[in-house]
């Protein structure tokens, strides 16, 4: 199997505090991979380490076979890794249009950015309607759409998603996952971190369980959903 991203034995954390104590995952192209685990298990830290907001202390991260663990997020975005952080994931005082422009920064050429925006507007007409509005005044669902749109401006190969369903209404969550699915159909790979994992697991091709900064389990999404131990320890009931 070809690997798109390979994280091998990564140690990482904030300052003196180590959160990840040797985590390894791998993702094949066009996969949706989900990571679940309790609070403080290091899921978000893993995403931040992959995207480069935190530099790993040890271990290797390979993207298309080349080592990227020392690189800055700016570079990684240019290589095709998009990241949507948890919660605050848009620029509230910039307009919708400007948000998208910012997302397109790595494209460089203004005409390419313009084209990308046009495509985005076709896909999400709601954003076109709101393009002059400050992003901060959008509704929760619209913000989430904008975040996704911003991240897909560069047609990324890999999208890292941190808790996309946090604080969202069930309907919006459903919509969100439909979007993820359709973007995936078009060729993008997803790595999703989720707390309330049932929906994500149903969608995911494969999934990992992380606990206390270590790999616990790895299986297909379905497999984990039906794993008694996982049910008991991580999904509740």
């Amino acid at each position: 199997m070809v690997t798109l991203l390979e994280v091998k034995d990564v140690y990482s954390g904030y300052g003196k505090i180590e959160v990840l104590h040797g985590v390894s995952i791998h993702i094949a192209p066009r996969e949706i991979v989900c990571i679940i685990g309790p609070n403080g298990s290091g899921k978000s830290t893993l995403l931040k380490t992959i995207v480069g907001l935190i530099k790993p202390k040890k271990g290797s991260i390979r993207f298309f076979g080349s080592e990227i663990s020392g690189k800055d997020p700016e570079e990684k975005v240019r290589m095709g890794i998009s990241y949507i952080p948890q919660g605050r994931n848009i620029f509230p005082t910039l307009t919708v249009m400007e948000n998208l422009e910012m997302g397109g920064t790595p494209l460089g050429d203004p005409s390419r950015i313009e084209m990308a925006i046009r495509e985005i507007f076709e896909r999400y007409p709601i954003l076109n309607k709101r393009k002059k509005m400050k992003a901060g005044s959008l509704s929760g669902g619209e913000k989430q759409v904008l975040a996704l749109a911003r991240a897909s401006m560069i047609k990324p190969k890999l999208i890292l998603l941190d808790e996309p369903s946090l604080g969202l209404a069930p309907k919006v969550i459903d919509e969100m996952y439909r979007q993820i699915n359709s973007i995936n159909q078009e060729g993008a790979t997803f790595l999703i971190v989720e707390q309330n994992a049932r929906k994500a697991l149903r969608l995911a091709h494969r999934a990992y369980v992380l606990d206390l900064g270590l790999n616990r389990l790895e299986d297909t999404g379905e497999g984990l959903l039906n794993n008694e131990e996982v049910k008991h320890l991580y999904l509740g009931r």
């Binding site: 685990g37 309790p38 609070n39 403080g40 005044s137 509704s139 929760g140 669902g141 808790e163 946090l166 604080g167 969202l168 209404a169 069930p170 309907k171 919006v172 459903d174 919509e175 707390q195 309330n196 994992a197 320890l233 991580y234 999904l235 509740g236 009931r237």
Partner: protein
Amino acid sequence: MIETRGLSKSFGGIQAVSNCTFALKDHAITGLIGPNGSGKTTLFNLITGFIPPDRGEIYFKGKRIDGLLPHEVAIGGIVRTFQITRVLPRMTVMENMLIAPPRQTGEKFRSLWFNPKTIRKEERENRKKALELIDLVGLSHLKDQFAQNLSYGQQKLLELARGLMANPSMILLDEPTAGINPIMIRTIMELITKMKEWGMVFFIIEHNMDVIIELCGWIFVLDNGEKIAEGRPKEIQNNPRVIEAYLGI
């Protein structure tokens, strides 16, 4: 317990809550659901006095409370928690608990010098109660830790225990299970149930329908600042308007 009449609030032309009239009956746990931006948190802010309403009235136990300052509302018996936890980070878990009881004698400058005995007695009692509650939420081994060193879930538990420590007649919980892993959600739900048995009254905003359905005796649904439905969990789950606006298929 709580009753609102024609409650309205808008921010910069956007109607966050419009003409909301409802009454919380004597159900121990009432839920409040609705899409993002439907005005749930604004409603909480209005009830607790954090934001003054543009129009409308709020009653608590028959007494009018709109126009009161938030700390007055809190002293009146309504304590709330927040969507994102608000523990006092550089204070210990114990201190976080001890801050909660309202109107402590020791908070008055004069009593420090003229009433030290009363203060000591109060402190002793509060400490005892705090220990019990910390124990209840399973944080007793962390009582001398700074709250900032707790995990997110533990902070949520602390916030809940602190709310109880204030000895309110009612607690408003804003998304008590958001960002918490399912196991911890269980713990919190059990806790809420236990407190219900002790006679505490809750009003909960929550997106996790499993939690809402299991806990609540009555549910209100908001959409675009308006109440679109209320009823028992079963009725709400099957209400077409609610499905259309919120639950989805």
